[in-house]
Subunit: 383 residues, 4 copies
C-alpha cells in the first residue's frame, strides 16, 4: 500500500530523530580523528542564528511505479538568520564540478547577498521548491519599498533516482513550507533526512551531515559551520582521516563511476565580505580532497558560503557601515572550512542507515565496526 508521510507525521518523526541525535554516535564518537575544535553541537547551527529544517518523505516499497513510488526523498532548509528574519546575509558561491543546479546564484554573485534560505532537494524537484520559497516569502515577509515582491530563491539538488521515484515528482510546495517552518537551532538531524533521504555517498548510504569549528580567541573566536547533502563518490577513493577506508571495506559496487553530487553550505559569523566568502566557498574543495573525492563528470559539486555578521548590510535606506576581517586574517577561517567539510561528509555516512528503495535497490550504511577496524589497522583510531 502506498502511503504518503508528510507534514504532520514528519513532525513526529523529526522529534524522534532529534532526541536520537543525542545518542546516535557521530564520526568522532567512533574514534575518527579530526583536527580543530568543534562548536557545542558540531553543526552548522553553532553559527548563531542559523536554523535547519527537514521534510523527509519515505513511503511505499517494491517495484517502481512512476508517480506512485516508492518515495525516498525530501527537502532541507538552511536559514542564515532563522525563519523570522528577512535580513539578507553576505554570500558567495563556487562550483567545483557543474553537473548540478543551484538556482539564484547569478544574483548572489552580482549582489554579494544571499537573500533567503538555502534549500536542498532532489534534482527533479528544484522547481517546485523554488516557486514555493517565493510563495512562502509572500506569506511571511513584506514587499520591497516600491510595493513589489522580488525573490530569486537559492535551491540546490542532488539526484536520488536510484532509491526514489524521482520522476514521480513527489515533493510538493507544502514540503518546502514544512522544512522552512520547522527549522530550528540546536542539534541537526543527519543521515537519511530531508533532501538527503535517498542519497548515496562513496557507494555507502549518504545524506545530510554537518560539522563546525570554533576559532581560537586570538583569531577572533569566530565559528564556521558546514552542512552537506552528500551523494558523490566511489568507494575505492574514499579516505577517512587519510586512510583508504573505502578500499579496505570493499563490498559490492553500486556504480562504476562517480555519478553523484555534493551540495555544501558554509556559514560563519566572521565579518567577511562577498569577495572573501567566495574564497571560503572555493576552499571546500580541499576538504573534499581530504576525503578522497576526484569530483567526477557526473557530479554537481556546488558550494555556497555566507556570513551572518554585518546585519543590515543590505539596508538601502542608509549607507551601511560594515566590519571586514582583514584578508591576512583569513587563514583560520579557510582551515576551519576545510576541516569542517572533511568531517561533515564522514558524519553524513556515519549517521545514514541502510535503505531499500525502488525496485528493491538497497544501499548499505558504512559499518561503524568496520570503520573502527580499518582505522585501528592503520593506527589512526583516536580512541
Amino acid at each position: 500500500m502506498f502511503t504518503r508521510i508528510r507534514v504532520a507525521a514528519i513532525v513526529v518523526s523529526i522529534s524522534v530523530v532529534t532526541a536520537l541525535a543525542q545518542t546516535k554516535p557521530r564520526a568522532r564518537d567512533l574514534g575518527v580523528p579530526f583536527d580543530g575544535t568543534p562548536g557545542s553541537n558540531n553543526a552548522i547551527t553553532d553559527v548563531k542564528g542559523v536554523e535547519v529544517g527537514h521534510t523527509t518523505l519515505i513511503s511505499g516499497e517494491g517495484k517502481l511505479e512512476v508517480g506512485k513510488g516508492p518515495v525516498r526523498t525530501g527537502v532541507t532548509a538552511v536559514l542564515p538568520r532563522g525563519k523570522n528574519s528577512s535580513d539578507p546575509v553576505f554570500g558567495a558561491w563556487f562550483t567545483l564540478n557543474g553537473n548540478g543546479e543551484m538556482t539564484g546564484t547569478t544574483w548572489v554573485e552580482d549582489s554579494g547577498f544571499l537573500d533567503g534560505p538555502v534549500m536542498i532537494t532532489n534534482t527533479q524537484s528544484v522547481g517546485v521548491v523554488r516557486d514555493a520559497v517565493i510563495a512562502w516569502k509572500v506569506k511571511h515577509g513584506s514587499p520591497d519599498s516600491e510595493g513589489y515582491w522580488w525573490s530569486l530563491p537559492v535551491v540546490a539538488e542532488t539526484w536520488d533516482g536510484y532509491l526514489n521515484d524521482i520522476n514521480g515528482f513527489h515533493v510538493k510546495p507544502e514540503d518546502a513550507f514544512h522544512a522552512l517552518d520547522s527549522a530550528h537551532s540546536g542539534p541537526v538531524e543527519e543521515g537519511n533526512v530531508g533532501g538527503g533521504t535517498g542519497m548515496i555517498c562513496n557507494e555507502f548510504k549518504g545524506g545530510i551531515g554537518t560539522s563546525s569549528r570554533v576559532l581560537e580567541a586570538k583569531y577572533g573566536g569566530y565559528t564556521v559551520g558546514v552542512l552537506v547533502q552528500c551523494n558523490y563518490g566511489q568507494r575505492d577513493q574514499l579516505r577517512i582521516a587519510g586512510i583508504p577506508v573505502g578500499r579496505e571495506i570493499g563490498g559490492e559496487k553500486v556504480w562504476d563511476d562517480d555519478v553523484g553530487s555534493i551540495i555544501v553550505v558554509v556559514a560563519t559569523d566572521a565579518p567577511l565580505i562577498p569577495t572573501q566568502l567566495k574564497r571560503v566557498a572555493r576552499k571546500v574543495s580541499l576538504g573534499l580532497g581530504r576525503d578522497g573525492s576526484y569530483s567526477g563528470d557526473g557530479s554537481g559539486d556546488i558550494f555556497i558560503a555566507f556570513s551572518t555578521a554585518n546585519p543590515g548590510a543590505a539596508d538601502s535606506k542608509k549607507l551601511p557601515q560594515l566590519t571586514m576581517l582583514p584578508n591576512d586574517s583569513l587563514n583560520p577561517i579557510f582551515l576551519a572550512t576545510v576541516q569542517a567539510t572533511e568531517e561533515a561528509v564522514v558524519n553524513a555516512m556515519v549517521a545514514a542507515e541502510t535503505m531499500t528503495g525502488i525496485n528493491h535497490h538497497t544501499v548499505v550504511a558504512l559499518s561503524h565496526d568496520r570503520l573502527r577496524e580499518v582505522l585501528r589497522k592503520y593506527n589512526r583510531l583516536a580512541k
Copy 2:
C-alpha cells in the same frame, strides 16, 4: 469575469498572430536603419533547425486579486534543433547584470552543452516551467545509457508584476508543454506574446523581439539569430539607430529606475566551440549599449548562445569529430551578434501593443509615427 485562455484557445490565437506577422510592420519596415543583412525571416529561426513556441496567458481585467488575476504572462520556448531532436548543442552563457535567473547554467558552463530548450517566463514561474521541462523530456525522450533520466533545464525570466498577477502563479506545467509542443520554424511572433506578454522595455510596452544576420559567403555564409525577452531600461536612455528617441518622445514615466531585465538567446550555425560561444554571449552587451542600456542594478541581463553545428558532439559512444571556426574568423559573427541584438530589441518595442493589466496599469506602445518623426528630424530615416 475571469477567464483563462490556454492551450486550445492559444493555438488559435497564435495562428492569427502568425498570419498577422506577415502584415505587422517591423522596425526596418518603419525606416529604422540597421547595418548588415538579415535572413529571410529576420528571426532566430533563420538558423536552420531552431524552433520557437509561445504560450500567451491573457485574462481578466481591473483590480488585482492575487491568484485570480488579471493575468498578463506566458512562456516562450526556443528549441535549438527543434522539438524532435534530443541532440544537445554547444552552448555558453554570460551575465551583464545578475538580478535575474537562468537555471541550468552551471552545467552549461562546465559541460559546454545546452541540452534541451531555453525557456523564458515570468520571475515567479521559473520553477514550475523548469520541472515541467523535465516531465516533458521524460515523456518525449529516452533515458541515458544507464537507464536514468538526467536533466538540468535552462529556464530564464523577467518580471511582469506591473501588469500581471505575478504572485498568483498562473503559469502551469501545461503552459510549458504547449510552448514546447507548438514550437515551429519560420516567422516568430513578437511583442505581447509568450514570456514577453506582460513586459515593459524602456518604459514602452516590451516583450519578445527577434532578428538575424546572414554573413557574406567569404565569411562562411553563416547565420546568426537573436531572440530577446525585453523588459529593461529607462525611456530617457533609449537610443534607436543612435538617436535619443526616448528623450524626444518623452511622456509619462513608468518608473524612476532601470528595474527590468532582458534575456537574450543567440543562435548560430557557425561551428563554434563553447569557449567561442561564451565570447559571442558577451558581445550581446555591445548591442544593448547601442540601444542606450546602462544595465541597472535591478536588471537581470542574462544571455545564452548556442551553435547548431557539430551534431552528435555530445555522443558519448564515440570520439566526436568537430569542426571549429578559427578564432580569427570570429569577427563577422561578433558583429552580427551586436547588430541582431540591437535590432531585436527595437523589433520587440515596435511589435508590442499598448496593454492594460492589474489595477488598470497601462503601458503604452512605442508610437510608430513618433518614431519615424524623430528619426526624420535627425536625418536617420531609411525610407
Copy 3:
C-alpha cells in the same frame, strides 16, 4: 639621426602639453553632445587623490630598424591615491575580449584590492614596466609587517607595432619610474602621450583619453572618472553621439579587421566594495557599445575599476570599518561609467594628432571640421 627623448626632455615636453591642454579643444568643445555633468577637468583626476603621469617616447623616423626605431611609444601611470600613498584601494576588473594583458589581476580578483598603480604601455613592454613597479615600490615604500616585499603590479598594454619599433623594446625601467614620479592631479594630457603615443582608434589616430561625471547631490554627489588607452576598432563601425561618423568620413583603411585593444580605468570616490566595482567594470562595455565597438577577436578589451573611498580598508592591524553604497543606489554610478567611457574614447581621438611612424606608416587624426560637419548633417551638433 636616432635620438632618444626621455626623462629630462620629456619633463619639458609634458609641461608644454599640460599648458596646451587648456587650449586644445576637446570633444564637447567641438559640439559633440554628451549626457551628464563632468567634473572640473572632465578627467579621471576629478576623483580626488587620483594622479596620472606619462612618459612619451618619440624619436627617429623612416625605415624600421629593430632596436633602433623609429620609436613611438610610452608609459602611462594611474595612481589611485597619488604617488605618496601606499594605501590600497578596493578594485575589480573585467574582460570584454581577452586578446591582451593586464598583469596582477588574479590578486585583484581574489583580494578585492588594487595595491599600487595601474600602468599602461605597449604589448612588448609589459614585463619591464611590471618589474620596474616593484623596484619603484622597494625604493618608495616599506616592506610588510614581516619585513618582506610583496607586490603583484597591475600593468596593461595595447599594441603599437604599426607605428612603433615594438620589437626594439625601447621602454626601460626609468620610463616607468618617470611616469610614476611625474604623476599629478589636475588636467590630464590626452592623445599621443604616454602609453597611448603610438595607438590607433577606429582607424584614426588614437591614444589616451579621459572624462568624468559628477553625480547629483541626491545620488551622493560622487565622482566617476574614466581613462582609456584606446587602440581598437574599425572606422566603419565608429559612432559618435550615435551618428555613424566613421562611415561618413570614410577614407583609406588602416586594416581590414578589428585588431586593436582598449584598456579602460574607472575611478570613483563612491564607497563601493569589490563586488560592486566588478559590476562597474562590466558596464564599461555599454559605453564602448555606444561608440560602435564590436570588440573583435584581436582586441584586448580589459577594464579595471577602483574606489578611493574607505581608506585603510586593507589595514590588517585592526578590523576595518567600511562604508558601502547600497546596491540599489548603484544606477547613477553605472550610468556615469557608461557616459564617461563613451566620452573618453572620443576625447582620445579628438586630442590625437596625425602621426608618421615606422616605414613611413601614417595614421591621420580625426578631422575636427569633418566631425562637426557630420554631426551637423544629422542635427546632432550641440553648438
Copy 4:
C-alpha cells in the same frame, strides 16, 4: 665571494643533475604509496612532445646585499610541443587562491589556446622573463600572416625571498632563453632547480616536482603529466599518503602562516577542448587537498592545463577538424590529475635538499628516513 653561475656553467650542472636523476630516490622509491600507474619517467614529459628546461642560479652566501646576493633562484620552462614547434595547444587555467601571478591567462581564457611555453620563476622576475619570451619568439618563430608579431606569454611565479636576494632582480633575459633552449624530453630534474631553486614547501625545502599517470587502454590509454613549483603550506598540515607526516616530524617552524604558493602545470595527450581543460585545472585542488593544503591567503595557487592533441587546431587558414573526448569519459583524466598532483608535490619535497640562503636562512629537506618511519608507524609504507 659573489660568483654568478649561468648559462655555460648551468649546462654542466644540469647534465649532472640529469644523470643523478636516475639514482636519486623519488617518493615511491622510498615506499610512499600512490594510486594509479605512472608513465616511464613518472614526469610531465611522459606526455609526448612536452619538454622541460631549467636555469638554476645559485651564487654567494651570507648576509643579504640587495643586488649582490646571495642568489637562490631560477627559471623553469615547460614547452607543450617542444622548443621547435610554434603550434599552440588547447589550454585553460584556474586559480584556487589568487595571491600570485600568471601572465597571459586572459587570452588563454578567451582564445582557448596556450600559445608558447609556460615559464615559472620568482615573483620579482615575472616581467623580465615575460618580455624575454617575446624576444625569444621573435628570434625563433615567424610573424603572423599580416607580418606582425603577437605574443602574450604565460609566466608564473612563486616567492623565494626567504632564501634569495629577490629584490636584486638577478634573473636576466638570457636565463629565460637558456631554460627554453635547454628544454628536453625524458627525465625531469626535481627539487632545487629552475624556478624552484629557492622554494619552500610545507616548511621543508621545496621546489620542482613532477609525476604522471597512464590510463588503462579501455579509457583511451592517455597520459596525464603534472609539474609543480611548490612553495606553499604549513608543516602542521602536511599529509603524505593521508598520514599527518608534517606533525609527526615536527621541528622548527619557518613561519607561522601559509605564505607560499604553488604553480601547477597539467599536460595531457587526451583530446580535450578548453572547457574540459578548465575542469581538469580545477581538479588540481583535490590533489592538493590530499596533501593537506588549505590554500592560505598568502598563497598564489594557480594551475594551467593543456592538451597536445589536435595539432593544427589554431590554424586559421582552414576550418580545423577536432577530436573531442566525450565529457562522460573524463573521469579517468580527472582522477589521474588528482593522483599525479598529489605525487608531484611529494616528489618535489623528496628531491629537494637542505639549502642555506640569504642571512644564513636555512631550510631543511624532508628527511627520507623520518618519512619512512612515520609511514611505517601508520602501516602505510609500501615497501
